[in-house]
């Protein structure tokens, strides 16, 4: 005998329809393009794809992308923790302004973000002459790329932590302080451990965006091969030169980095329910 249907359960045909719709949509929008990237990259076999990745310019792009992420992510970890701590655990004038400012990069187009830096640090910009006199290159150089990436990825970690910290309230901190713990000790031993899963999650999102950012970086980079090309920019250049195998090979590598990030994220989500019980 079939189990009685629960009143809250949808009829079988509706479930099947909805699931099919979702799968078809995901297939068309996500899986197919992703498969196409790898298919295009491997169209002429594995060797041409590997050659494209081993190209010195491609390797330079990979290195620059990893360098950018390696600078951006730690910066945003520090900033995100500080900002979230200030916003969630303290009351001060201008708090809502700070929250709005943190959100700004989400609402501003990345291209505009890049242009802001050109305007400020570029040759015709506010500090242009001063920078040239002192031999400092920001625009069309690595510092500009890092700055633009930091701007774009600014909110990821802070936004992840603020609701989490707000939800946890301040009583654990008060308990720690009332037992004689200093502010810093409380921050490291009480506040931070409570948000470590949220922090890791934020780091992964921030990292994915830092490696994948195109718009803002494109404006400030100058597209100098082997010097200021990140992976997304390198993909574009190769594509525009009709080097499809090369473009898709580098794109596939970028996808692989993203997939690794996603797998890590999923692994964290699986681990998270037990997080409370674990010691370290």
């Amino acid at each position: 005998m079939a189990a009685p249907r629960l009143s809250t359960e949808d009829p079988a045909w509706a479930k099947a329809l909805i699931i099919t719709l979702v799968l078809v949509f995901l297939g068309l929008v996500l899986v197919l393009p992703l498969a196409a990237v790898f298919a295009e990259a491997l169209r002429k076999g594995l060797q041409p794809a590997l050659d494209a990745i081993a190209n010195p310019d491609a390797i330079a792009a990979v290195k620059l992308t990893l360098l950018t992420a390696a600078i951006t992510v730690p910066f945003n970890v520090v900033f995100g923790l500080c900002a979230a701590w200030a916003v969630a655990k303290h009351e001060f004038p201008g708090k809502s302004l700070l929250i709005t400012l943190i959100d700004l990069p989400f609402s501003v187009s990345p291209v505009v973000a890049g242009l802001i830096y050109v305007l400020v640090f570029g040759l015709q910009g506010w500090f242009g002459d001063h920078l040239v006199d002192n031999g400092v290159r920001i625009i069309f150089a690595v510092p500009g790329i890092v700055l633009a990436t930091i701007f774009v990825t600014f909110p990821f970690i802070a936004r992840e932590l603020i609701p989490l910290m707000q939800e946890q309230g301040t009583s654990e901190e008060e308990a720690a302080v009332s037992m004689g713990a200093s502010g810093l000790y409380t921050f490291w031993r009480v506040t931070t451990p409570n948000v470590r899963w949220g922090l890791l999650y934020g780091v992964l999102l921030c990292n994915a965006r830092a490696m994948g950012e195109f718009g803002a970086v494109s404006v400030v980079s100058g597209h100098i091969r082997g010097l200021t090309n990140t992976m997304p920019l390198h993909v574009e250049i190769l594509y525009n030169e009709y080097d499809f195998v090369g473009a898709f090979a580098v794109a596939a590598l970028l996808c692989l980095l993203a997939i690794v990030t996603l797998v890590l994220k999923t692994a964290l989500e699986v681990a998270q329910p037990g997080a409370g019980r674990r010691g370290h």
Binding site: E172, M179, G180, Y185, R189, V190
Partner: protein, 339 residues
Amino acid sequence: MTISIRSVEKKFGRYPALNKIGLEIADGELLALLGPSGSGKTTLLRVIAGLEFPDAGQVLFHDQDVTFASAAARRVGFVFQQYALFKHMTVAKNIAFGLDVRKGKDKPSRAEITRRVDELLRLVELEGLGGRYPSQLSGGQRQRVALSRALAVQPSVLLLDEPFGALDATVRKSLRRELRRVHDATGVTTIFVTHDQEEALDLADRVAILNQGVIEQVGTPAQVHDQPISPFVCGFVGEANRFEGGVLNGRFTAGSVVLPAARVADGKAVAFVRPHDLVLDADGFAVQVNRVHVQGALATVDGVTLTGQRIEVTVSRDQADQFTGAVKLSARRAHVFPG
């Protein structure tokens, strides 16, 4: 440790949470701060703890002004409403926290800390649970951990914010006994906040009743129950029938209800009569009995007077049979306040 609170004031924005509060707490006393929500009781506790600083007034610990001293400097043990245990630390680590944070020669040796943690676990009857995490404990056990964590620093005063609020009724009752036992064993001056009058009367040596940022009355549980000095205290502590009427020549009248009011001036008044102070009396006022329900050794009678005022009477079980149909009642004692 004696504690003196002198004309303490605290405002949140425009809203006055504490209004010229004065209170003396004796060494080794167990005091309850009782009041409805929004009465300022938690704010007062946090001012005593040093988690909140008053806008005006003084807090003295043993004649020493600590008004603006930090919570740590005051050596208070604070038990938070939701316990605020550190989720990522074991029970033992939680209890040891206050000792672990100490520096230099103040910091006890590791063996000393372990010994102290074991002693506290024994005190709250949680032996062998030191290695667990807070999420693996029941509500009552968490409360005990919070209590022993607060006691670990050998506080000069122990402060508890609604310590039993998050627990179910049976656990609540046993933990009340537990807190009393721990208090008697350690002798530490203890102040706890509660909105539950039964809890305050049952547990405390003295009760301070707060209403709208003002202390209405301070006294032993018997005093605040039997000799309430204001209508608020009378209505808030214990059960009471409330009547609105007037006093003339030492008699309070509200509709058909007549009560003695010896020392009250003539004029409008409000009267309270405890359900157990109403007795059958042939010369009393008439009450129509609606329902009698038995609660253990006592019976509660729901009735209504001739003028439609509802009335509640508590009698012993063997008297319950006499309450049928129309009866006549009088009050052995009434609390009448000019109003």
